[in-house]
């Protein structure tokens, strides 16, 4: 097990490196640069600025310096657009925000989704089942960019219960709408996967044996059926976890949370190279780690899997 984890982490290093190199060159090949503007800078001013940020160096040298600074100083470079902040600042400010409501959305989506799915499977073909399936499908069809406007119009404009955006230190009123917007469609998917998985498990031989032994339904479900049911759910949750953290771009922008998604999109549009690359690396590392955790979780859920 430990050897497996170490092996996986070692493979992660070249993966991340490849990600950095590929992103670096793609970014530089995109037309326009950080200082392209409607008001073209006089050549001398542009030269001064480029010299200041090392952009006058050949690309390979820039890449080398970039990697060197990360490895040696853990410095992800300056922002070209926001002169008084560097990438470390931007991530330190934005990531905790994205992480907070990303985690909350993940928890809400998982708890509600799994509960709905189990309820539907246990009461197969009853009104509970139809209701849960209907809700699941409806939720899945409501991506966050549809949920956002619906929520704001309802809770901010018509009912006047919740502030229409902002962060304000992460007070609960400011969290509700972003979390619902982000969680809804994943919750729908989780509910459907859980339901079909549970139905399959409930029809399998070992459950029939458990029932035949005369075990109460509750024990059958919780002790025997739940773990195998969750296996496909877990394999779905891994990517979902990364999505709620990285895919929160819309929510960040729509609800003005100050999260990292806004900085990410903004940096791509303004060719703020170091910010774009820094956030890409962060998301890359997260993806690799979460995938590893997911694989490890399989072993716990399914005794047949051993590393």
């Amino acid at each position: 097990m430990l050897a497996y984890v170490i092996r996986r982490l070692l493979i992660a290093v070249p993966t991340i490196l490849l990600l950095i190199v590929a992103s670096f060159f793609l970014m530089h090949f995109a037309p326009g640069g950080p200082f392209t503007s409607e008001r073209p800078l006089p050549p001398q001013v542009l030269a001064n600025i480029e010299a200041r940020y090392g952009l006058d160096q050949p690309l390979w040298k820039q890449l080398w310096d970039y990697l060197y600074n990360i490895v040696v100083h853990f410095d992800f470079g300056p922002s070209f657009k926001f002169k008084d902040r560097d990438v470390n600042d931007i991530i330190a400010q934005g990531f905790p925000i994205s992480l907070t409501y990303g985690m909350l959305s993940f928890i809400v989506a998982t708890l509600v989704g799994v509960s709905l799915g189990i309820a539907a499977a246990i009461r197969h073909n009853s009104w509970i089942d139809y209701f849960a399936v209907g809700l699941g499908i409806a939720a899945q069809a409501l991506p966050n960019f549809i949920m956002g406007p619906i929520l704001i119009l309802t809770f901010t404009l018509w009912l006047g219960w919740l502030p229409g955006g902002g962060w304000n230190g992460g007070q609960w009123q400011y969290l509700i709408m972003p979390v619902i917007a982000l969680a809804t469609s994943y919750m729908g998917s989780i509910a459907r996967i859980t339901r079909s998985s549970m139905l399959e498990v409930l029809n399998s031989n070992f459950i029939r044996t458990a029932r035949a032994k005369g075990l109460p339904t509750r024990t059958v479900i919780w002790r025997h059926a739940l773990k195998p049911t969750l296996l496909p759910v877990v394999s779905y949750l891994g990517p979902v976890f990364v999505y709620v953290l990285t895919g929160s771009v819309f929510v960040d922008i729509y609800f003005s949370t100050g999260g990292l998604g806004q900085a990410y999109v903004g940096s791509a549009l303004s060719r703020d190279y170091a910010v774009l690359l820094g956030v890409t690396i962060l998301y890359g590392v997260l993806t690799v780690l979460v995938n590893l955790l997911t694989d490890l979780a399989y072993a716990w859920f399914d005794p047949k899997i051993r590393y």
């Binding site: 800078l41 600025i49 400010q93 956002g148 229409g164 955006g165 729509y254």
Partner: protein
């Protein structure tokens, strides 16, 4: 004596009067309106500001904050006129190439230090210093300050800049060429003073709340990037007694429709109205939906360089395309926000600018269409040989609507085959800057309230002249205007030439279209540059 000096005397008298009246009464000292207990102004900004460092800031939302945090030599009033800032007035020599500013002796930084002429000298040298490499260094060059260009180019040491503190309260500026509107340019944030001690102590971090020391009516107290920034009253400000707004909150809201919803829910005091929604909002909220002219134009530029289409080399073709644009449809049906139709490049609202009588503007649209067809036929284009070209604009819903309307007008009236393309902003700039286009969208907001800020775009060697229009007569007139005491007729003449030759198609001039809470007093709707100062606003009790 200069008008500014006279103004400043009037200003001093006025402020003495106000101080005498005392503010605590809860009524506005001049208008008598009852003031709200909570003097907080909350407004929406589209994007996170680039910086609040006066010498570094390069975007509008950043400049708005900087104008509250710092105060330069001169300010603008509600109508865009110059009023004293840190300087109480100025004098200039006969040849208008030396300006001497007198600084008030009661101006203080927020840490209590006096604001002196040395702070301006430090700031101005900082702005041109290649070590800071300010993206706005060019502004100091535009101000014609002696040696600015050479210092930026690294050919002369920073200390050679033509600015000198004669004593703590006298600042002398030498120009490399006479510039009649030099004082107007000192309202620009690049020229604001900078606190040397603090910058040297904190380096790049000096603008963070807690570190920052400023000399304006407000200090920065909170900043969560991409979410909000908060500025609060600076008790050290020399005119603090007459400042009414206590706290200003700028909320970053990227989506204009969300911003409007949050405005309607009462979270904001001011936001922009999305294109096309003004008539509805005006009907529902007649006291809150406002529209007023701004100092910006919206146009399409022909590519007149070698890479441009042959057809556009013919002025008749360009004229025909311009004539066939029904500007009324665009301003009234698409934008619907009170934008004026444009027949000149310079907005009519620009100070000291008299637009020429442009023939096109006096015709009906039917007459224009008729003439357009004739001109195009003359140029050899018709049903058998249709005019065909592409037009590019940067990706945006509003630009798309305008572009589609234009292409349809040209197609229906002139039978032209128009291909539309949109590009992401940076790619668009790159392509337009490299003349990889036939017809491209352009827009320009004045850097200062004077026609040359627009017309310079059409000068042959201007870096912003993406259409590569070149006319020696225009260049000559513009060069003359730079040093002329009365440049207005020269600008009018330039516009007349542009109207004939049509290197660009002016579409409309911008309007500021806002939802502004009716309890916000004194919003400067007549300041076409929209240089607003929170210290001049107030909230009326509801």
């Amino acid at each position: 004596m200069n008008t500014i000096l006279r103004n400043s005397v009037a200003g001093l008298l006025c402020s003495t009067f106000i101080t005498g009246a005392a503010l605590a009464a809860g009524n506005h000292p001049v208008t008598g309106e009852p003031l709200a207990d909570d003097q907080t102004f909350v407004y929406r900004v589209l994007d996170e500001h680039s910086s609040v460092d006066p010498q570094v800031v390069e975007d509008v939302s950043g400049a708005e904050i900087v104008r509250d945090l710092f105060e330069g030599l001169m300010n603008q009033d509600e109508n865009g006129n110059l009023v004293p800032g840190v300087a109480t007035g100025y004098t200039t020599n006969e040849t208008k190439d030396v300006y001497t500013f007198t600084l008030r002796d009661n101006a203080k930084w927020s840490n209590g230090d006096p604001v002196t002429a040395h702070d301006f000298v430090y700031a101005w040298k900082r702005a041109v210093d290649p070590a800071l490499s300010s993206p706005y260094a060019w502004f100091m060059e535009l101000m014609s300050i002696e040696n600015a260009a050479e210092i930026i180019a690294g050919e002369k040491p920073v200390d050679d800049l033509g600015v000198k503190a004669i004593d703590d309260h006298t600042l002398e500026v030498k120009l490399s060429a006479p510039l009649p509107y030099f004082p107007q340019m000192t309202t620009h944030s690049t020229t604001f003073p900078a606190p040397r001690k603090v910058i040297e102590q904190f380096g790049d971090e000096w603008t963070k709340p807690g570190n920052i020391v400023s000399n304006g009516a407000y200090v920065l107290t909170e900043h969560l990037p991409n979410e909000r920034s908060v500025r609060e009253r600076n008790p050290m400000y020399w005119d603090n007694e007459n400042t009414i707004i206590d706290k200003v909150v700028a909320l970053v809201i990227n989506d204009e429709n969300v911003a409007l919803t949050r405005y309607l829910a009462g979270e904001l005091d001011r936001t922009e109205v999305p294109a096309g929604q003004f008539p509805r909002l005006k009907k529902e909220y007649p006291n809150e939906a406002i529209s007023f002219p701004r100092l910006c134009n919206y146009y399409y530029t022909f590519n007149l360089s070698d890479s441009g289409p042959e057809a556009f080399k013919d002025p008749n073709v360009r004229q025909a395309l311009s004539l066939a644009v029904d500007r009324k449809i665009i301003t009234e049906n698409i934008l619907a926000g009170g934008q004026p139709e444009a027949y000149t490049f310079v907005p009519e609202a620009t100070a000291g600018f008299t637009p020429p009588v442009v023939e096109m503007a006096t015709m009906t649209q039917a007459e224009r269409d008729e003439l357009a067809k004739e001109l195009l036929a003359e140029a050899g284009y018709g049903p058998d040989n249709p005019l065909s070209f592409s037009m590019v604009y940067n990706t945006s819903e509003a630009h798309k609507k305008v572009a589609v309307a234009l292409s349809q007008m040209w197609k229906q009236k002139l039978g032209a085959q128009v291909e539309l393309a949109n590009m992401e902003w940076k790619i668009f700039l790159e392509e337009r800057g490299n003349q990889n286009f036939d017809l491209a969208r352009g827009a320009w907001c004045g850097d200062y309230n004077e026609a040359s800020t627009f017309l310079d775009l059409l000068q042959s060697d201007s870096g912003y002249n993406d259409g590569k229009y070149s006319n020696p007569k225009v260049d000559e007139l513009l060069a003359q205007a730079k040093t002329s005491d009365d440049p207005a007729p020269l600008y009018t003449e330039v516009e007349r030439i542009i109207a004939q030759e049509t290197p660009v198609i002016p579409i409309y001039h911008y309007a500021g279209v806002y939802m502004l809470d009716s309890d916000v007093g004194n919003w400067p709707v007549n300041n076409v540059e929209q240089n607003w100062y929170s210290k001049n606003l107030y909230k009326i009790a509801e």
